[in-house]
Symmetry: C2
Subunit: 336 residues, 2 copies
């Protein structure tokens, strides 16, 4: 059989949900949090996680084969990466996104075909639910969720702090700031900057607590509002991270226009996102993120750097450029 014509990559992709769901169940069960306390053999680990004996060893060894656990003799332990990122007790935990994927996205993606046929979202809203509405009314769950968002933004936050020419600017506000991950990293790295974050009123105590933990309360403050109903606050640099892809094109243009209006002359807007490559054939994750917007939003979609640059120029930005940040994330910078 021709080496290029091989059913294995097809079957591996078609059944890739097996490995994916195995990791999601491990996060749900707190397996990595447990092993962060120290190595355990299969019986101990099974017992502490409350698993039936039938398949526990297959589950643990599958995680070894998937590169998510190490095993020395009979002792299972976390890898350096899973110990840092999947132990709930560490500030570097980013399992929140995976917990949410396990509980919500995995089942909702089950109706991808219906979404593709109808163009309609496939989450709780299809049956009258309102995940985000309920979330924002429950301070504890909101706090967990926003902390999960910090987890997935941290890599981009470090890269933005490093790569953007901050010495040219004095103030920065993150639009849709959540806990304030990005302004905190930027402020920690650049002593001359002040600013803060803009988000819905329910976010304020969570933002303030996070910022205070870094000793930055005197430099970063919270601006409460709704970015469609209210004006966007002004600063030399505005940031929108993983925000624009939630919205349809007319709403994207509205948000870009409001950012342009709020900026001073020579001010900059940083949009960062899992940008699709301009030729739309390399960055599978960006394209799949766009399908996730089909599942999760009425009209959202992801886009290329070229798309975003053209929208920015249409609302008035005089100059734009695209720069890779880290992993699947890149930024588009618009200069007024």
């Amino acid at each position: 059989m021709n080496a290029d014509v091989n059913p294995e990559p097809i079957m591996q992709l078609g059944l890739a949900f097996w490995g994916s769901k195995t990791l999601l169940s491990a996060v749900e069960l707190g397996l990595f949090t447990e092993l962060a306390k120290g190595p355990r053999d299969a019986d101990e680990l099974r017992s502490v996680l409350g698993l039936h004996e039938r398949s526990a060893r297959d589950f643990f060894d599958a995680l070894v084969a998937l590169g998510m656990l190490d095993r020395d003799g009979e002792q299972y332990r976390n890898t350096p990466s899973t110990d840092l990122f999947l132990d709930r007790t560490k500030p570097s935990y980013l399992g929140g996104m995976l917990e949410m994927s396990n509980a919500r996205l995995y089942p909702f993606w089950g109706s991808l075909t219906e979404g593709l046929r109808t163009g309609q979202l496939q989450n709780e809203a299809k049956t009258g639910g309102d995940f985000f509405g309920v979330l924002y009314q429950d301070p504890d769950r909101l706090s967990q969720f926003l902390h999960a968002m910090t987890g997935i933004s941290m890599g981009a936050a470090h890269a933005i702090a490093e790569k953007f020419p901050w010495h040219r600017y004095k103030t920065v506000i993150d639009i849709g700031a959540a806990e304030g991950c990005v302004p905190v990293q930027v402020a920690l790295r650049h002593d001359h900057l002040t600013g803060g974050g803009f988000d819905l009123p329910a976010v304020e105590p969570i933002f303030s607590k996070y910022v205070e933990a870094f000793g930055l309360s005197s430099r970063l403050s919270f601006h409460a509002g709704d970015f469609f109903a209210d004006e966007i606050p002004s600063a030399d640099v505005l940031i929108m991270g993983h925000i624009l892809h939630d919205w349809a094109l007319d709403e994207k243009m509205t948000l870009l226009g409001k950012a342009y209006a709020a900026l001073p002359s020579d001010g900059s807007l940083i949009v960062y996102e899992t940008l699709i490559d301009d030729d739309r054939r390399q960055n599978a994750f960006g394209l799949l993120m766009s399908l996730n917007m089909l599942i999760e939003t009425p009209g959202g979609f992801d886009y290329t750097g070229a798309d975003c640059s053209s929208w920015m120029r249409k609302v008035g930005f005089r100059e734009t450029y695209v720069e890779h940040l880290v992993g699947p994330d890149s930024m588009v910078v618009g200069i007024k």
Copy 2:
């Protein structure tokens, strides 16, 4: 950040179900069957598949980025592999397994955590359904299903025809033969062999039609029966492919014992399976297949070559060896 401590492989695995479900939806929609007729641009393809315009291009381009489609300019076309294996009109189609995964396994794997906690299967049977019972009463659906099994057995069938020392034997019967994929490939390659397949009575017309299509009706015949309730027919070589993993250990031992009893002295049993590596740390697919047995069966599990060899020796086989076939499949041979 240390290159070895990187959240990306974790997030890629945790969200791998996105790409997996995208391929499964494409198979469900018959996308590859449509493109096998010739290249189409996004609008034509969207229209013929009945997709909404919102996300169709993201869907097609995600399949390009995942390596499942090619795109020249605006024209989408199948890759050589997807054209051969995912066009329903070709005899090489193996999308049947993916159609079944899309309709059944994807949602059932959603309750993996419950399965791990309880040790109970998580398919239709959990709510009183009986997928296989219903399947075997519907000749058309049974025919489609058994043809899908041929698709996933074809690689192993070629390898078994090539690698086993068939010149030492005159007769072969495949236990749980389905359409008869393996005995057909073995008989096509080795003119001196006769034999056939053993399966439930409902399979007979499907087996006979398949064998006749290869002009092998005079050499391969069907033996009807239930391998627990009835005797296993005798031949120099018996084959059990993707059968033993469906069953609990005591049932596995019963089947191995019946095969041993049915063989003549110096006869051989070939067991082939997505064998787990003996150290249980490399073959993720075999370990995940074992978790699939948790989802699908009351007591089934996958196993290593060493496991199977030890069981074979326990029921009386004097010699055993393990040999890789193709992809994730290996065979364990027991000699009486």
